[in-house]
Subunit: 250 residues, 2 copies
DNA sequence: TCCGTTTTTCTGTATTACAGAATTATATTC
DNA sequence: GAATATAATTCTGTAATACAGAAAAACGGA
């Protein structure tokens, strides 16, 4: 049974985002359609536990240190990450491009780890750890989507494929062809489908039942990413994915 | 007014730590003295919101992706971090040692950021971002403690100064002398007081009211940290702290 | 297959979360 | 600097629901 008061409290906590990091009681209560006194109680409870902190100047609240501590606990519970992380670094060295690791999370891909040699602040912010992106138009997303259950893919298509650039695949039948191609050759290519000028090669890490537990991608400016490089990067990815699978006893 | 159901739910969430990342319903209910059905409801609510995830194999739960997303939101709400981060990197280059940024959080110091050139896995794990340490025996902690209110210092001493190494300062009067020295020369020195073989230089970033909003430290093996280096590092720190204060309009 | 353990579902009631009003604090305007 | 407006917080009764207990379902060994 869902605990409504907790559900509501999490609505309040999640009202604080990187876009809107600070908020007051009245703003939250208005946005969520809750009673201000109720919001005040929730916020005060979170504050006493360190999840929120009050700015003494303007009385507004922002996320607190306890979030960091929860993140720290989360990070080390992710045993898979411990195995994968070193590979990401090696791939970054071998390709000279940005490398991401992500997993399917509901109907999106969530970025779980990254390795970079030369920091590209623009792309870093876009795909920061913890952020999410659609499944149908990213290298990671398509690599993950290709191995999902048929009815999951049906649902993703049914919900509608948002257009981000001129090259975004928005038609269900074309996406299905693309996913078949990914399964056939073993890697996905994002050809500026999410961000103009950004190309990307992705490969899923499959478990014993051929379900993807995550995916790795190499991302960079389209000018550097010609057909030859894409194939070269796919081969590099293949080697590491094989190695990861054997390290995980898959 | 504290919302008891939320308070209890946070107890459950915080039961998951890096030391004990996975737990089942019965384990949690026993440890926290709660009814299993109650714990089940709380856990299911967290699961539906992505804060916890169930391991299909053993039915146990672990922290979920939502923690990452909350962390992502927290990170970018920390405007101070945006200013400080580049300085940490520069200090790491100038000193060749590990550099930490932390703040006082209740009666401990919390590590908020770090910069390293040569990764020392042992020390990295110890002082990972989000972890905490006592105030009285670390470079960061002492630098922060030196500028706290008198009655706060009284309370820290009254609670007892835990001993970690032979060099840990455990007596209140000696700690007070040490804090006076820190205020006088402007930096703290951790001489293997928390971890054997680890020395550290710390400096607080003071606001206009001379309250510390955070501190920066340079940490490394005691063999490399002689008196001359400590003074040299303190000077490097001083320059950056000055710069940070001016960037923050303090 | 049976038994012990653990997780999950279900339901009545005692608890408490919440709405509304009152109060305090803060910001803004005259 | 007083007055007004806005926002945050406190207080209290009651309607809503969180929780205990029991029972069922799922799981994992003997």
């Amino acid at each position: 049974m869902i605990i409504k008061s907790l559900w509501k409290a999490l609505d309040v906590l999640e009202y604080f985002t990187s876009e809107n990091p600070e908020a007051g009681i009245s703003e939250i209560s208005e946005a969520l359609g809750l009673n201000p006194s109720n919001v005040c109680d929730i916020v005060k409870t979170f504050e006493r536990r360190g999840y929120l902190q009050q700015n003494e100047q303007n009385k507004k609240y922002h996320l607190g240190f306890q979030i960091l501590q929860r993140y720290y606990a989360f990070d080390y519970s992710d045993a898979a990450g411990e195995i994968i992380r070193p590979h990401l670094k090696t791939i970054a060295k071998q390709t000279g491009e940005m490398v991401y690791y992500g997993a399917a999370y509901q109907d999106r891909v969530i970025y779980l780890d990254q390795a970079v040699l030369n920091v590209d602040t623009f792309l870093m912010k876009k795909s920061a750890i913890g952020s999410t992106a659609p499944l149908h138009c990213t290298g990671l997303g398509k690599a993950l989507l290709a191995y999902q259950e048929e009815n999951f893919i049906d649902e993703i298509i049914a919900r509608g494929l948002d257009k981000f650039t001129d090259d975004t695949i928005c038609r269900g039948d074309i996406l299905r062809q693309e996913l078949a191609l990914i399964r056939q050759r073993g890697y996905s290519v994002d050809n500026m489908e999410h961000e103009f000028g950004v190309r990307c090669v992705g490969m899923a890490i499959l478990d014993r039942k051929d379900m993807p537990l995550g995916a790795i991608s190499v991302t960079g400016p389209s000018l550097r990413f010609d057909e030859q490089k894409i194939e070269q990067f796919a081969n590099i990815l293949r080697g590491h994915v094989e190695e990861i699978r054997s390290q995980m006893f898959l």
